[in-house]
Symmetry: C2
Subunit: 455 residues, 2 copies
Amino acid sequence: MSTEPTKILLTEDEMPRQWYNIQADLPVPLPPPVGLDGTPIGPDDLARVFPMNLIEQEMSTQRWIDIPEEILGILKLWRPSPLYRAHRLEAALGTPAKIYYKNEGVSPAGSHKPNTAVAQAWYNKQFGIKYLTTETGAGQWGSALAMSCKLVGIECKVFMVRISFDQKPFRKIMMKTWGADCIPSPSMETAVGRKILSEMPDTPGSLAIAISEAIEQAVEREDTRYALGSVLNHVMMHQTIIGLEAKKQLEKVGLYPDVVIGCAGGGSNFAGISFPFLCDKIHGKEVQVIATEPEACPTLTRGPYVYDSGDVAKMTPLLPMHSLGHGFIPPAIHAGGLRYHGMAPLVSHVRQLGLIEATALPQTECYQAALLFAHTEGFIPAPETSHAIAQTIREAKKAKEEGKEKVILMNWSGHGLMDLQGYDAYMSGKISDFPLPEEMLQRSLEALKDHPPTP
Amino acid sequence: MSTEPTKILLTEDEMPRQWYNIQADLPVPLPPPVGLDGTPIGPDDLARVFPMNLIEQEMSTQRWIDIPEEILGILKLWRPSPLYRAHRLEAALGTPAKIYYKNEGVSPAGSHKPNTAVAQAWYNKQFGIKYLTTETGAGQWGSALAMSCKLVGIECKVFMVRISFDQKPFRKIMMKTWGADCIPSPSMETAVGRKILSEMPDTPGSLAIAISEAIEQAVEREDTRYALGSVLNHVMMHQTIIGLEAKKQLEKVGLYPDVVIGCAGGGSNFAGISFPFLCDKIHGKEVQVIATEPEACPTLTRGPYVYDSGDVAKMTPLLPMHSLGHGFIPPAIHAGGLRYHGMAPLVSHVRQLGLIEATALPQTECYQAALLFAHTEGFIPAPETSHAIAQTIREAKKAKEEGKEKVILMNWSGHGLMDLQGYDAYMSGKISDFPLPEEMLQRSLEALKDHPPTP
């Protein structure tokens, strides 16, 4: 084993003081959000949903945006996060590759999500907002926002996808512990929830439904806004602190990655680790960047690039993105997270520009990779994170075949201590692969037929 | 708020290379373990239960014992652990005290337990052992040993107290994920388990029962030994890495603690943080050291100092310790962990010598303290840890009354993400205090009437 330390640390003084905004460097600008009639959406159209200071960030093309001191103060509770050299995983694989993983599981909520949750809660409070609504799937985002609202000092309400609400009782308690309301979606509290329940009383729910409910409640009250845990430009930007730190950490050992890997659901942890390196790539540096997603929810790899809405009730503007259709509900057999129908416009855009690659992985391979990780590095990964691990293992094996000492950087987006049922199902042989059937995809995409064409 | 960083970090190079053995500095030597007839127990009497290399550590009076490189290599997966300045908790309390907490929740298993689990697994493997058996209550220790056996490369079987086995399904999965067998205790697999089940078919189980089962299976096979997560001298020693690191970290900001606080069940996390400071105290330095325990299981504060066995079937030697009696089963209303009937002989001994103080706290105060901690510092503490937090808050309030800028050091022994039901019960008003009734204590102590007197 190498004598290089297991963890490369930064001091709090070395923490990035600015977020990186990739919109400043895009060779082709991001197409704007549009209404159902195809006309571009301006800041004022979003003002009932988000506070204006975040809308400005959403639209900004300024390359560097200062992180307010108060936000840094809270992020320091767990940041800078350690960059790990996966000595023991490398040894198990017998690979010449150097594998580095950025451990975002060290946050109190256990994932990368608080990086933007703290920022969003803080900007909302600055704008005079007293109450945030949001949605959550498995609960990573909901608990991150619950914690952040408590730390910042505003109230929080989380609509949780019903199947997760029922199957993950601990996530609810976690949110309650941080003072948030958590209710199952669809619920009887909103018009859209009531409509869906009357049509599909047994629905497991979906993120797109929960988003509709959260937005409906946000726009009803002057002191309330909505927060989204992924997809939007300012969310991607808040997460770039991950990649900015990782870059500094690799510099400390004199390295630059050959490959950067992140799993992708809505796109935020992938953007967080990769955008600072894409900045270099746009300016001529060579680096391979790979987004990995589940075969059962193959947004980037099989979803067309279209104008689609972020929620089922079309309360959001239409966003230019790879999408499986806003009505898409992943099959129940899929246990690996990353279930959102759309991919962040910025991630979709850099995919369109050929700056990144995308792969879709079967979930048994991901759980197998997660177990190997837990058995060598100790930490039990979130099911989402296991996709990045599986892709990293593929790359490390390729490096072995090619005899190349590649530097692989992976975003270890969170721990799996709140998601152990999936492991139990896998170890009990109850998990099988589910490549999305083409006809199921086509049926889901029919909902987009009246949407304006993507530029 | 002060400009001092939130976290004081050590590099891996600064990690302690030796454990501290307080037996070298005791003004009065620790009384030996004895048999039921009162004759001292020697190394050979323990050889069926533990490997000889750990028995040597158990009996050693050498002050410093080298930590093998391979053990350090595994500990580096999460060590050195960060020492936090609790800026936000201090602000909420309005105290002039400086509160520092050592965050042992950063380990993959989420608590301090792996510090000794890794060492025990490694020494057993060195001795040629292929299989470890153990017991666990809430599951912190069982998951720590499961992980450590996997990382070291031996097999592990965990007898889990039945009430926890039933109430904490995630802990089982965690152990299974790390490759261990986990079965509820009492079980039909052992003679002692079958006997107890025939007498008390509905028993919730206890640590003392689970220990008996684990030892029974360990002594049956040549390649199998037993591992204990607390109580024993070598366990206390392995945990001193916590206090040794904390001392170095406080030195970096030019401080020495006025008060050192740890919660105490079997005593290992308390010993881990405090023994390196007790070393200074024995040599003349002034420092207040407080062990805190639950009112419902008040071993140090109300249990007499006696020779008692570590398990219900008296398979262990008699140890000199504060004890509530080996048949003690805490009331079901108690949700805060720290349920073991005895206190580590070394912790009991330093209490007898007047080197430490002990307090017993009501559980509602502990949960209230835990919530304040989660609402200010973000991290959700283990119920066990909440006792240390509650005592720390008491000390910080006292410092405020006295107008003293005290330095308080607390061991934050683990996170509570696997123990959220207790929070739910507390927030739903289902938790009440339960000071142990005197007659219940006396009844439990009757089992000790034939034991030899403690010197």
